[in-house]
């Protein structure tokens, strides 16, 4: 990674939520650096603070401690360099696809970049679906539309929060291939959250493993599988080995289990 500029720095990020029943310690001194154009996955058990981390990167909420830098500048609110893809496509049901995708332009009071949008729709196989409403589309199509929405404003960083968690296995596999292709073509910096280890191994350059709440960084794995990866790769011994090793590393975190 030394040959590439650092795009994203997370430095000792901590986050508490104040709730009626007391403080929830969601994130504990989490640090990572992501190089420009790198694809990193963050995995960890449900409720460990993954979304909390991602929302902080997107500037949707502040940290209780530590800081996050994008291109060397601290994040203190939503940033035009960053776009998010949410769990369950998160399309607005009262808008058709075209108007859903134009939402970011509308918010920024810019004319929509029609050529770019059409190109992206074509790329993900949604040409001609602009007038459809979300409810008329399958979960996979909805999620592809939400990826187009995120990419339409040409961000340099894509934050994806368990984007394919709600999809069936086949669609999920398709989406994994698609997102890798798009990443290879566009060289965006991607931070991708998942709780599927094989998905993380398939997609990532590096995998950051988090502990149960409060979310702490426990291990980092370099995934040296060659690119482009295809479905074939998932059957290779090295892939299976990596998955097993990561699984072991999570199971060998007795702190969560004993508590």
């Amino acid at each position: 990674m030394a040959d590439r500029a650092v795009k994203l720095v997370i430095d000792q990020a901590s986050k508490y939520y104040e709730t009626r029943t007391g403080r929830v310690h969601a994130l504990d001194r989490f640090s990572m650096e992501v190089a420009s154009g790198e694809f990193v996955c963050v995995i960890g058990p449900s409720g460990c603070g993954k979304s909390t981390l991602l929302w902080s990167m997107a500037g949707l909420h502040g940290l209780s401690g530590g800081r996050i830098l994008v291109d060397g500048r601290p994040v203190d609110g939503p940033n035009a360099q960053i776009a998010m893809v949410f769990q369950e496509a998160n399309l607005l049901p009262w808008r058709d696809l075209q108007r859903n995708i134009e939402l970011p332009f509308e918010i920024r009071r810019q004319p929509p970049d029609r050529a770019r949008i059409d190109g992206l729709l074509e790329r993900v196989g949604l040409s001609g679906f602009g007038a459809k409403y979300p409810r008329e589309l399958s979960g996979g199509m909805q999620q592809r539309a939400s990826i187009v929405r995120a990419l339409s404003v040409n961000p340099s960083i894509l934050l994806m929060d368990e984007p394919f968690g709600a999809l069936d296995a086949f669609t999920r596999e398709e989406m994994n291939l698609l997102i890798e292709e798009i990443w290879l073509e566009t060289k965006k910096t991607i931070v991708f959250i998942t709780h599927s280890i094989p998905e993380a191994v398939f997609l990532a350059d590096r995998i950051f493993v988090m502990s149960a709440r409060p979310g702490r960084l426990t291990r980092v794995f370099d995934i040296d599988l060659p690119r482009p990866r295809d479905v074939e790769v998932t059957t290779r011994p090295h892939f299976v080995e990596l998955v097993a090793e990561i699984k072991r590393s999570i199971e060998h975190k007795p702190a969560a289990r004993a508590a």
Partner: protein, 287 residues
């Protein structure tokens, strides 16, 4: 067949976190009231409804004539329609008065109700304080205030318009508030992540999201407004359809009396159809 499908659909919760948004189907189920019209779908069903109407009207005509029921007890349908046509020039101005009261009062009440709902739901504490008073306004028949209003404001439009506003406003408000309370944090976060301001989030996320319930509130509120307008006209004053009802019944002119009721029914149905249509347009996205 169709009714079985509908029942099945009603037992499957279409909202809630785990729900698959792709599964939502029919576009007409956005409120119990609003779905009544959608029960009628096919041409055959419309034909059957017409047939029933013909049977009721024709049968009524026949029976009333057969038993020679005096007009002052119950006029025949043909007498009612006859009176409607013959006396329409005399009744028409009163229709106008009632509509003016209804539209003005409803416009005022609905606007205040909608704005208050939008504001108050942003402040949960204030909402808690105000809620019982709004409930009081919703449940107390505003007609009860009309004699007092007339005492203060005379026999003109003013007391009636105020009564209509008081009847429809709270109805619009509690339904709209229910709509505004349905916050979907993920959608707000989405808009925020693209840099949306609070106002933009309000206009582009919160209002469309509240729309189905707002329209239900407008529909119920306007029908309450019509009831109140007519009731207020019956209490005092010398114009409006409600006043004509008391007038014609005191003169035992029953065909004209029923002609006024027919007009009221048509106004009510028009309101319903208008909001049904608006609902399909603005809230059709919600199954």
């Amino acid at each position: 067949m169709a009714s079985v499908d509908r029942e099945l659909k009603d037992t499957i919760p279409t909202f809630g976190k785990g729900g698959d948004p792709a599964q939502t189907v029919d576009i007409s189920n956005w409120s119990g009231l609003a779905s009544e019209l959608s029960l009628v779908k096919t041409g055959a069903e419309w034909a059957a409804i017409l047939l029933v109407a013909v049977l009721i009207i024709g049968g009524g005509e026949l029976l009333l004539r057969l038993y020679e029921v005096p007009t002052y007890i119950m006029p025949t349908p043909s007498q009612i329609v006859g009176a409607l046509i013959k006396d329409f020039p005399a009744i028409a101005p009163h229709v106008g008065h009632t509509l003016v009261e209804l539209l003005t009062g409803f416009a005022i009440g609905a606007t205040i109700g909608f704005v208050l709902a939008a504001i108050i739901t942003q402040f949960p504490f204030a909402e808690k304080i105000i809620a019982p008073y709004v409930l009081l306004l919703v449940t107390t028949p505003m007609l009860a205030l009309v004699p007092l209003l007339i005492l203060k404001l005379g026999f003109g439009y003013a007391p009636r318009i105020i009564a209509v506003a008081l009847a429809s406003g709270p109805m619009v408000m509690i339904n709209s508030a229910t709509g505004f309370r349905r916050v979907d944090l993920a959608k707000i976060a989405l808009a925020r992540s693209f840099g949306a301001s609070t106002l933009q989030i309000f206009l582009k996320i919160r209002i469309p999201m509240a729309m189905p319930m707002v329209i239900v509130g407008l529909m119920v509120g306007s029908i309450f407004g019509l009831l109140t307008a007519v009731g207020a006209e019956m209490v005092g004053g010398s114009f409006g359809l409600g006043n004509r009802l008391t007038y014609y019944s005191s003169l035992i002119q029953m065909p004209q009396f029923f002609a006024c009721i027919l007009i009221l029914a048509m106004i009510g149905i028009s309101i319903y159809v208008l909001f049904y249509w608006l609902g399909k347009r603005w809230a059709g996205w919600e199954a």
